[in-house]
């Protein structure tokens, strides 16, 4: 059952610091971090030397743009300990992710790094209404993956009764949730939805048999529609949390109960948005690639780490009282980006348009071509029962609506073609999204 909206803040001094003062703190911590990186991490030193930058040149956040970027490939190339900035004996924890291909990536944490990460999650849980009176059920996997241990440490830190369920065994999750009276949930949004559906299938009433009031969900991108469904299914407040092993784990940014973007823990990281093609820094409010620089991390500090996630930053004041910048939902990955007639286009933008047009199934394909040196894009949309009609006019109406929405959202004209159900090629049940026929 949803609780009345509260704006409790775990560390008001850090989270509500005036932005001027925060910037000063960030500048000081950035300068110290860059110095340590230059002195202790050969890759960082080589790259700074190549750009002719000395640690002393970096005096404030404004100088960030002169620094080289770090990529996921660097973590693979330097696996496992090449990016450590401290002697190995100071590392007290390794976390990592298997990744879907190739070598795993790992990050080493000093005692202080674990402490910082723990506080980040504690801030997130408090922002979602968590207190020492809560019973927090953690159904993220425990292990190298940061989800389980991250949520566990944060929940313990705020003094909540922590239930380390780990992932899987849905029936048992629900049994414990019911018997213990869990009040908060930490897992992926898709698993939370599955839990909600299963609770109902088991004949339980989320309003009576389950005592959840809120949840902190992350580790995968989700949409506002998913939030609404989840909140209704479990009768809770659903807050988003963002993180990545390379930076800390979950808690790098988190939503308060205003649910208007995730507050970035800016006393520990600096967030930037860049144009993924030109690599130029973009102002707040522009959509682009999210880049993080750690400014307190000791074990494996990250210098301008490219997340490949596309989002916006918003520094306008939040009703909760926190002054930190908020990151919007992840709307795409730079890996999927297409440049069409000079416009950056993400398949996820097209997908959001299709979802918003009533009844359109999310199976679609983008066909990009170049005719007489002009790029063209065709959006092929599979029909399903819901959008079916017996008149040509209805189909043309749907087609025009999709075309107009793409134009207003993405800023390009696309040819929209309706195709029969299940006619688009699929691999592993998913439609192949993009076919680029341009010969560049």
């Amino acid at each position: 059952m949803k609780a009345p909206k509260t704006h409790n803040i775990y560390n008001p001094e850090a989270e509500c610091m005036p932005r001027e003062q925060l910037r000063e703190l960030q500048s000081k911590r950035l300068a110290e971090t860059v110095k340590r990186e230059y002195e202790n991490v050969p890759v960082y030193r080589e790259r700074m030397d190549a750009k002719g930058i000395k640690p002393g040149d970096i005096k404030s956040v404004d100088d960030l743009k002169y620094l080289p970027f770090t990529n996921k490939t660097d973590l693979r190339d330097e696996f496992p300990f090449g990016l450590l900035a401290v002697p190995k004996r100071e590392i007290v924890r390794i976390q990592g992710s298997s990744g879907t291909t190739g070598k795993p990536i790992v990050s080493g944490y000093t005692e202080n790094d674990v402490e910082v990460w723990t506080e980040m999650v504690a801030r997130a849980l408090v922002a979602a209404g968590g207190t020492a009176d809560d019973i927090i059920q953690v159904c993220y996997g425990y292990g190298l993956f940061t989800g389980g241990l991250g949520a566990h440490q944060g929940a313990t830190r705020i003094g909540a009764m922590t239930v380390p369920m780990s992932s899987g065994n849905t029936q048992r999750q629900i049994l414990m949730m019911k018997e213990l009276g869990s009040t908060m949930l930490c897992c992926t949004p898709s698993y939370a939805t599955y839990l909600g559906e299963t609770i109902r299938e088991m004949g339980l009433d989320p309003k009576k048999d389950i005592r959840l009031k809120s949840g902190v969900f992350g580790a995968e991108p989700w949409t506002e529609e998913m939030r609404q469904r989840l909140e209704q299914l479990l009768d809770i407040d659903a807050c988003d949390i963002y993180g990545l092993t390379e930076i800390a784990g979950p808690g790098v940014a988190f939503e308060c109960l205003e649910k208007r973007g995730m507050h970035v823990n800016e006393d520990h990281v600096i967030a930037e948005i860049i144009d993924p093609v030109t690599e130029e820094q973009l102002p707040y409010g522009c959509s682009g690639e999210l880049v993080f620089t750690t400014i307190t991390k000791e074990g494996m500090p990250m210098l301008r780490y490219r997340t490949h996630d596309i989002c916006k930053l918003d520094a306008t004041p939040c009703a909760c009282g926190r002054t930190t910048v908020r990151m919007g939902r992840i709307t795409g990955r730079t890996d999927d980006m297409l440049v069409i007639r000079g416009v950056n286009v993400f398949p996820s933008q097209i997908e959001s348009v299709l979802v918003s047009v009533k009844g359109v199934a999310p199976f679609y394909q983008l066909v990009v071509d170049r005719v007489h040196s002009t790029d063209s894009i065709e959006v092929q949309v599979e029909l399903d029962e819901k959008m079916f009609s017996d008149t040509v006019a209805d189909f043309e109406k749907i087609r025009n609506e999709i075309g107009e929405k793409i134009k207003s959202v993405v800023g390009i004209s696309a040819k929209v073609t309706l195709v029969g159900a299940k006619t688009l090629p699929r691999s592993e049940g998913k439609a192949k999204r993009v076919i680029d026929n341009r010969k560049l």
Partner: protein, 139 residues
């Protein structure tokens, strides 16, 4: 009184039509009437068949989305000007005709006009007031 009509979305690709009719023929479904509305990219095949539910199932198995809707079918006497008379009466009701097509019953050799008006309830009333004889699925 209305009859059931099946509509199938068809891409403008060679062989689509024969795939649809094969799917129906192999399930022993008799197509009583058919009409194709087409644009540059796609078409809608509308049919009156002997067994609507079975046809929808057969089409779904063949990978086609079909929808069923209610249309009117009026018997037309076999004499010149009969169709004009019917169309005049429909026009007088002021109702918007989405589309129409005609077929001849193999059993009775009578001609029928199939037409679609979206607001079924008010159309039914207005058409009967005009003395238009509508038939049901039985025929």
């Amino acid at each position: 009184m209305t009859i059931k009509q099946i509509s199938v979305f068809m891409e403008n690709k060679p062989g689509t039509m024969s795939k649809v009719t094969d799917a129906l023929g192999n399930s022993g479904i008799d197509v009583r009437a058919a009409s194709l509305a087409d644009t540059q990219d796609f078409g809608i095949l509308r049919m009156i068949v002997s067994d609507t539910d079975k046809a929808v199932k057969a089409l779904a198995e063949a990978g086609y989305v079909a929808s069923v809707c209610d249309v009117f079918a009026a018997e037309v006497p076999d004499r010149p000007g009969a169709m004009t008379e019917l169309m005049k009466k429909v026009a007088e009701t002021g109702l918007n005709l989405e589309y129409m097509y005609a077929f001849v019953s193999p059993e009775t050799k009578d001609a029928y006009i199939v037409f679609r008006i979206k607001d079924i309830e008010s159309a039914e009333k207005a058409l009967s007031e005009k003395g238009i004889k509508l038939i049901g699925n039985a025929k």
